[in-house]
Symmetry: C3
Subunit: 319 residues, 3 copies
Amino acid sequence: MVWCLLSQMTEVQLEMGTLHNFISIHDLVRDDIELILEQAAAMESVAIKRSKELSTKIMACLFFEASTRTRLSFESAMLKLGGSVLGFADVVVSSAGGKGETLADTIRTVERYADVIVMRHPLDGSARVAAEFSSVPIINAGSGSEEHPTQGLLDMYSIKKFKGNIDGLSVSLCGDLKYGRTVHSLGMALSHYDVKIKLAAPPTLRMKPAIVNEMKKAGMEVKEVDSVEEAMKDADVVYMTRIQKERFPDISEYDAVRGKFRISLDEVALMPEDGIILHPLPRVGEIDSEVDATPQAKYFDQVYSGVVTRMAILKMILS
Amino acid sequence: MVWCLLSQMTEVQLEMGTLHNFISIHDLVRDDIELILEQAAAMESVAIKRSKELSTKIMACLFFEASTRTRLSFESAMLKLGGSVLGFADVVVSSAGGKGETLADTIRTVERYADVIVMRHPLDGSARVAAEFSSVPIINAGSGSEEHPTQGLLDMYSIKKFKGNIDGLSVSLCGDLKYGRTVHSLGMALSHYDVKIKLAAPPTLRMKPAIVNEMKKAGMEVKEVDSVEEAMKDADVVYMTRIQKERFPDISEYDAVRGKFRISLDEVALMPEDGIILHPLPRVGEIDSEVDATPQAKYFDQVYSGVVTRMAILKMILS
Amino acid sequence: MVWCLLSQMTEVQLEMGTLHNFISIHDLVRDDIELILEQAAAMESVAIKRSKELSTKIMACLFFEASTRTRLSFESAMLKLGGSVLGFADVVVSSAGGKGETLADTIRTVERYADVIVMRHPLDGSARVAAEFSSVPIINAGSGSEEHPTQGLLDMYSIKKFKGNIDGLSVSLCGDLKYGRTVHSLGMALSHYDVKIKLAAPPTLRMKPAIVNEMKKAGMEVKEVDSVEEAMKDADVVYMTRIQKERFPDISEYDAVRGKFRISLDEVALMPEDGIILHPLPRVGEIDSEVDATPQAKYFDQVYSGVVTRMAILKMILS
């Protein structure tokens, strides 16, 4: 992951109508992010009353990796703007995978069926490869363990919506910081803002030094801590992620980590009353269900941020 | 299954616009059923000319258990009212199942994407649990072996459509009465009417005594018989169901039962000329294909009753 | 496969509004093909600006065999005409297969949900069986190894679009001519025109003598050749197909054939400068990616021909 290199790609700030592909947070400067967050806010009322703006547009969802949440969020966003949807939800039901076709060929086919392609793929860099071959815009809905840029932006939108602003905040990223693509994308987006970062991960799932260095180079104050407890203290935003069993060769090690990286009411009590807890979901026990009723719990509202943020991106690309 | 308890939930009769969730036949009183059947009849002409009434509404289909028929029937109903559809057709292509998310979390996510959730789930009680967590209406499209309330109502609609009225009829329920959720829902619905019931099932697939007692308590005349032949005699309505091989530990027992619980032209000859045969489909041999051409065979017309009944329910919930 | 017999079925030429089922190229006379190709050409502009012509129509896709390309092509065509889509993409997620229902029963159910059924099925003759039971039109999207008539027509449309006319051309069919249903349908369609045919296939994948004889009987000049090189020479159109590994009991035989039936820049150099190369896709190595940039390569444009040809067929059937 080479942050500086890729961010050279966008010297010029986005203007309405100039967004084509949406591949990486690296392609955006701060003004671009601001513009998207503004558009997302404007979508809040459109999402309720619905629109026919994209009624002549077709969105193709190519999910080479299953994902209910992200796929349905994009579909809901497109339908609320009056558009139509086609695609496949899993590589096993698609000849794309089964018959051994290359990604480039699949893209050059599907671009004839749709006006925009939303794509999730297990390999790093796949979305950028797709964009090279496609004449229609590509939106990266998760590629490898590197990037999930629309998630990063909806997380930013959630922070701004619930905290009012982003500059000046103290943000803790917790859980699997090594393989979790959502924290990578959120970290990149936050690097354009004046925020203090705490990183809390099990020893084997720490964020890669290269990324930590990039964050520091971007001017962020970054501190690595050992436990969720420390991450909660003084945090305006706690971003929790799922720790996947498959990452641990030894199940006992997983069990130890799992018990430690978990937010219950006790941990919530450590954070400021106006702090917020986010999670990209699905969760499998990292946050106790008792926490759901606290005012800090914003992870289900965050789901809705996903719909309006994706409406904003689709509109900016397609209209 | 506790009929009396649950039926206490609805003292007050439905009025147009007051239907929120649609979980169980137990939640309905006779006037509610009548209102839905009337609305379904009104949908017959709408189904042909189509409508845009629900053009700003999104229906999510969450099928944790595969079901082509019920899912496509709901989708057709929603599309004919101008609405849109998203969802998943099988738990294997959804992170909902694969990543170990709870049903409550899935519901609290999907309610942000859609205006109504149609849900099928292998566990008894799942739809009611979903309704507790959802801010948007839940429609139960089959839960466990207990309930399939929209099927119950479309069966009632079919009876009324083809027989003119329901009171005074003699209705035979045949096949798997133990695990078949459709006969449970239909039985509950019929208990609000003045009907005579015959129950014909193999010894190991008889209706549970608790349910039979409830039917009697509701004032129904209930008679258990041993064969399809007896079920056909004098029946205004014969409701046949599929007997699943998996229910029998011994395959020879299954073969014996299968041969006995089967409607051929010989059995049709035993029923009144104006009697009707219904089946929730799919069938796998319980009704000979020769029977399809008889005037009594109404099971394919019953499929269409499903579309108009579900249109009525969607419209009552969403408009 | 009995060409002459079936072609007796259509003495009378199609007129607009008279197309009901679309099962086989055998059902069409030359004037029918011409009419569809004209309609497809008219769809080129509709595909760009979109239409609401079929906004009250529902298309059901029943794919008993997975096929991303054909399914998405039909869905795109229907959406561009303003219509709606429902269905299943794979037999494993449908009770149609899983619960042992007959094709006839599935059709008699789905015809209640939709205005047209697009169906792919692994068995020869399945589409015609479906048409016998259906009250709504059936479109064959591939049945067994025999037929794929909409592919045949989109191939014809591609030839006409890129070559201006069809009569007088020299067309080479290459690859798996035994099992490839696309070459069978294209061959039948071409038999109504004045074309010279070269057939180039590995010894075990040659076109069946019965079909070759039929082509000759229809007045075509047919020549069988041994290599792709010979097929390229003087060809106005080279139609390449995928050779599937599963067809070879001995993997070394497959490898030998694979190397020989492959188009690289060397082979392209053998064909006329204004010749075109088509392929039904997906490809798995039969055409080098270097060839994609040559002016002869039209296989991705051919994908788009699929959309407009299917729009034409849907419109002719549904309006």
